[in-house]
Amino acid sequence: MRAEVQDFYRGTYLENTGRYKGIWAWLTSTDHKRIGLMYLYAISAFFIVGVIIGLLMRIELIAPGKTIVEPQAYNGLFTVHGIIMIFMVVIPGLSATFGNFSLPIMIGARDVAFPRLNLFSFYLFLFGSFLAILSQFMRHGPPDTGWTFYAPYSTSTGTNVIMATTAAFILGFSSILTGLNFIVTVHRLRAPGMTFFRMPLFPWAIYATAWIQLLATPVVGITLLMIIAERLFHIGFFDPALGGDPVLYQHLFWIYSHPAVYIMILPAMGVITEIIPTFCQRKVYGYKAIALSSVAIAAVGYLVWGHHMYTSGMSGKSLWLFSFLTFVVAVPSAIKVFNWLATMYKGSIDMKPPFLFALFFIFLFTIGGLTGLVLGALATNVHVHDTSFVVAHFHYIIFGGMGFAAFAAVHYWFPKMYGRMYNIKQATIASIIMFIGFNLLYFPQFIIGIEGMPRRYYDYFPQFQPAQIVSTIGGFVLAAGLVLMFYNLIRSARKGEKAPANPWNGTTLEWQIPSPPPLENFEEIPHIEGKPYNFK
């Protein structure tokens, strides 16, 4: 078996040719493809942990009152669920995995601009993740503040906040360095002839995302340091007893954390924009609009953070400014949705798993986006703020949106990464089970949210229970779909049928090189003559 595997990998990036063997050959590799894969494996592992914690929360919520944990433990659960999912899964997400694996190949480069910095980013990611997990087990107990670490509770609670915020700081630094690397890569390493407007749209998305990673993350970095300074030195910035304003913490926190959601979704939209033309065998409708809408989302996205704070006591002028800008930022996203649909029109559609996931994405993201308008409007926000309506909204966008796009990306680039194909039927069934489970899990939460079910609450009025039961069942259905999907992918990575270089008849550069790719991607760097998505 081993000899067969060696043969299969010979001449590709999966062959160990250096000084190290086995796992060390990976952990010391500066090859963007290996780094991308390592991120994929780490993030998948953290995702599974996060899902398990989510399921524990769902079990607790299946009935009012205590079901399996005490209230304090429940606070710890939703905090760590958020920390893992946000900082260790969806923010690194598609950038660290496929930004690394696919971006350089798609622009005709041999690697990123700073390969050693890339590996360093990965080490920081592992170290920060380690600290975040450690904060669960240290002496003072897991943090119970929610992943948002709001002052004044985060500065006064006895739990391991310092370790968790330090972890988030380190993870943020990893994100900054990755963003820096990708910006320089796109500016300096595009193949000859590939102008910005001849670049495919996934690189455009990664580029826009990289700017957000670079410029927004430092703000939360300094904010977390301020929380630590408050806990250690009572510096007073957010403590009303010393003259500070807790709302200022919220401003600082959301100045990063709102752009952060665009870090999550822009690469996802980029993936969808690659998949749809390929499986419709038609060029993208409105290439420039999609490229520039990514930049517009990144730019305007910096200015809307206050919509997380409508009920915090901000001035009236602030309220309407943030609401107005929030409605503005929805427009470029909508433009993308229309362009995707227009691309499909009269296309030659091939309903393979990547495309099916992409369709689910569009459906779920649209629901998430529309409910975002309910939250973006001042009057309706007051009614649903801090209810499970918000929880349903962001899960539709992040999980239904970015999550399904991530599954789509894995199913799209899998044959390129491993030179093997997965079981199409299992993938299709898994995706449908997940789609059904997802909607059962989250849709009821919109309803009870409007009816008054608060978020982050461990107990609730009996009238919410039927919906909570449906939601919990949905969670387990979704989990079943995930299990099938992971089983299919893991099995196929080792034993799947050999896949050709271009199984989907794609036109971008990654499909013009062998599967799996050689170490340096290209025999000869191509010279780009025309626009991308040139389907005959």
Binding site: G18, A113, V219, G221, D245, H251, L519
Partner: protein, 206 residues
């Protein structure tokens, strides 16, 4: 084969990329300090009179001397780059040492300044501070946070400059390959730039 490939990848030298990378890193530092400047801006607007009162405790002479020292150090490292580009290696190294010396003077000044504050029982969380007005407490909190973070960057900058000087001595950084010095100098100028704003905002509040 990987050895050859790796060597090939590392051979790929792009000074423009390195410089662009450094400018991008500087942007992150601007946003990092920017968070503290935002906190300062908000609380100064809220507690204007108390900020003024508290700032009287600071010694403008110390602040001015530190400003001058940093400005001189910035010129020195810029001149060091010019010297290296003109292949005047010894002059370049001397100018870098001058920059480091200025940084050291800055840190010594800072040590005495902070020391004086501590002696008067002024530090975040102290007994004295807790009895003062809200505006005073926040002012001192910002003073220590901002000058502290800045001093940390001065220290890191000093280390980077010394590393560059050693590399010039070893011949690894020279007239044909000076982007490392360029980038170190950019970092140093950033440190100066931040102080240019800190000085009037902390020491010269009327």
């Amino acid at each position: 084969m990987e050895h050859q490939a790796k060597a090939h990848l590392l051979e790929h030298r792009d000074d423009e990329a390195a410089k662009l990378g450094m400018w991008l890193f500087i942007f992150t530092e601007i946003l990092l300090f920017g968070g503290l400047f935002l906190v300062y801006a908000v609380y100064r607007a809220m507690y204007h009179t108390q900020f003024h009162e508290a700032s009287l405790e600071l010694n403008v002479v110390f602040g001015a001397v530190n400003t001058i020292v940093l400005l001189v150090s910035s010129m020195a490292v810029a001149m060091a780059l010019t010297a290296l580009q003109e292949n005047k290696v010894k002059l370049s190294r001397q100018l870098i040492w001058l920059t480091v010396l200025c940084a050291l003077i800055f840190m010594v000044n800072k040590y005495f300044e902070w020391g004086a504050k501590f002696e008067h029982d002024i530090y975040p969380g102290s007994e004295l501070l807790r009895k003062l007005e809200h505006g005073h407490i926040l002012y001192y909190g910002l003073y220590f946070a901002m000058t502290g973070l800045h001093a940390l960057h001065v220290t890191v900058g000093m280390i980077i400059l010394i590393v560059v000087e050693r590399r010039i001595k070893a011949g690894k950084v020279h007239a044909e390959k000076f982007v490392f010095l360029e980038n170190a100098a950019l970092y140093w100028h950033l440190v100066d730039l931040i102080w240019i704003f800190l000085f009037p905002l902390l020491y010269l509040i009327t």
